[in-house]
Amino acid sequence: MSVIEARSLTLSYGHKPVFAELDLLIPPGKITVLIGSNGCGKSTLLRSLARLLKPQEGSIWLDGSEMSRLSSKEIARRLAILPQGPVAPEGLTVHQLVKQGRYPYQSWLQQWSKEDEKMVKKALEVTDMEDLSDRSIDSLSGGQRQRAWIAMTLAQNTPAILLDEPTTYLDMTHQIEVLDLLFDLNEQESRTIVMVLHDINLACRYAHRIVAVKDGLIYAQGAPETIMNERLIRDVFDMECQVTADPIFGTPLCIPYGRGRKVLQPVMA
């Protein structure tokens, strides 16, 4: 299990500050989801946690050591990041992609080990990509493609996995497929999972902990069932809604107000 912590993180793009003095502790072995409206800085926060962006002030800590003092490879053995919308070069096969996940374990002397082979095999198994392993990435559907990239981060065999909008551009079936996979990884191997999601309802369903970001500040954080309410949605997303319980999962379900058709005899399954 892996603890990631941001201490008085300050980061800006040009003159526009994204965060000032932000503190955040990611609990180990849990699924944490960052939510917030477009441009609120949640992706930037995730990228900073994964050292893809360097903070101007403050620091990121990984298992009690400051990240900037760790070697990049050392970090890559403890924390994997799947950026938003990664693009594989034309013709790259699933197997070739997943093998790249072993990069942080290789060196001049140690090019490819049994352990590498084992981890790649396992990653393909867990993501159910074995049958597709010789297919090229660009010939796959969106969901399969995302699973292939997740398999690569799994081959990295890190206690923590960070994902930037892993469900964007996927249809609903594939969104659930990807989230179920991540849920299982957390349940069965207690991996720490941190991700940015756009769908509030799916965030409530899968996350143990939600971090709501607004204007570079953490507006609220905690279990979805304790923090999610109409006021949070109004303040964070500038949207009126009703929060009720999901009829199947019991997790908070947010129904936005707005226009639309109304049916007098609601259809229930």
Partner: protein
């Protein structure tokens, strides 16, 4: 494309060996065939028992360096092309994208206009320095800003500097008049008329860069997944991109200094190679080297016969082969 032409490791190794044999045959043919007909016995004797005759001189001072330069320049251009296409994520990237050819040409033009430089050996040095200088400039310009070196910035910087140096060169050529015959000939790109000194001067750097390319292959595979993914996998991308840049400069700069700007080898070969063995740089690099050498050797031999007994510069030959190929790739949206 799910499978490549050569799928298994055995097939790929066999293909590479076949390519090496073909290149060896190419070098031999390049030495053996030309305007002057020389018997095999005389050719061998020129190596074992040099007697200073006209025929021996042709073999030793003209054809041998010519064959070696064609092989070295072809191999270097193809490997440099594959690296440039990886770094810029642009399937049509070629030495011109780093401003290498324009920079080399500019230094030669300035050298002959203001410092009286002449002769292919002087040009070779000027070309190499110019190529390295411009590539470094492109690299620095392309790295300005928070996000460091990005494909789009390096492409823009290369295009801008290429346009800039080409205009300056042309301006000097137009105002300079007749002193530039030699320079104009250099502009086409040719492997003929170079002496062995040109080859031995650049070959060590190119050999070093070739070894560097093989070492970098594994890291280039990771970098080709994109900057963020590569950093996430623990790669120090700044160093890898810098090292790749040095390899490109040594290979492309070395070849432009030997043979002038030869177009299309750096585009045709990497695409053919990816079709044959896929995109793993650990195969792409040796394949590009071997088949790049083959292409330029074949084009150079062909150039001696296309309007026999007059020779066509090999740069014209590669352009004749290259343009239709280029259009073909562009029409397929850059896919091989």
């Amino acid at each position: 494309m799910d499978t490549t032409l050569l799928a298994t490791r055995t097939q790929k190794t066999a293909g590479l060996l076949a390519g090496i044999l073909l290149a060896a045959a190419g070098i031999i043919c390049s030495i053996a065939f030309g305007v002057t007909n020389i018997s095999w016995r005389t050719i061998i004797a020129s190596y074992t028992d040099f007697n200073g005759s006209q025929e021996h001189l042709i073999i030793q001072t003209a054809r041998t360096p010519r064959a070696l330069i064609a092989a070295a320049a072809g191999a270097s251009l193809a490997v440099a092309g594959s690296f440039m296409q990886g770094i810029t994520r642009n399937p049509l990237a070629s030495p011109s994208i780093f401003g290498i050819n324009a920079g080399a040409a500019f230094f030669i033009v300035v050298g002959s206009a203001f410092f009286g430089a002449s002769g292919l050996s002087t040009f070779a040095t000027l070309a190499f320095v110019g190529a390295a200088f411009t590539a470094a400039l492109v690299y620095v310009l392309g790295s300005i800003g928070n996000d460091g070196l990005t494909p789009i910035k390096i492409t823009l910087a290369g295009a801008a500097l290429t346009a800039f140096f080409s205009s300056l060169s042309l301006g000097l050529l137009l105002t300079g008049g007749q002193t530039f015959d030699q320079v104009l000939y250099w502009f086409v790109g040719s492997v003929a008329g170079r002496d062995m000194g040109i080859f031995t001067a650049a070959a060590p750097y190119m050999g070093l860069a070739m070894a560097g390319a093989l070492v970098l292959a594994r890291h280039m595979n990771v970098l080709s997944l994109g900057e963020d993914v590569a950093v996430g996998l623990g790669q120090k991308t700044v160093y890898i991109k810098l090292a790749a840049g040095i390899v490109i400069v040594l290979l492309a700069g070395g070849s432009v200094s030997m043979a002038g700007p030869i177009a299309f080898v750096g585009i045709i070969i990497p695409h053919l190679v990816r079709y044959m063995v896929g995109i793993d740089y650990r195969w792409v690099v040796p394949y590009c080297a071997v088949f790049g050498a083959n292409l330029l050797l074949a084009a150079d031999i062909g150039s001696r016969y296309i309007s026999f007994p007059k020779e066509v510069p090999v740069g014209v030959m590669t352009a004749i082969i290259g343009v239709p190929f280029f259009v073909y790739i562009a029409r397929r949206g850059g896919r091989t």
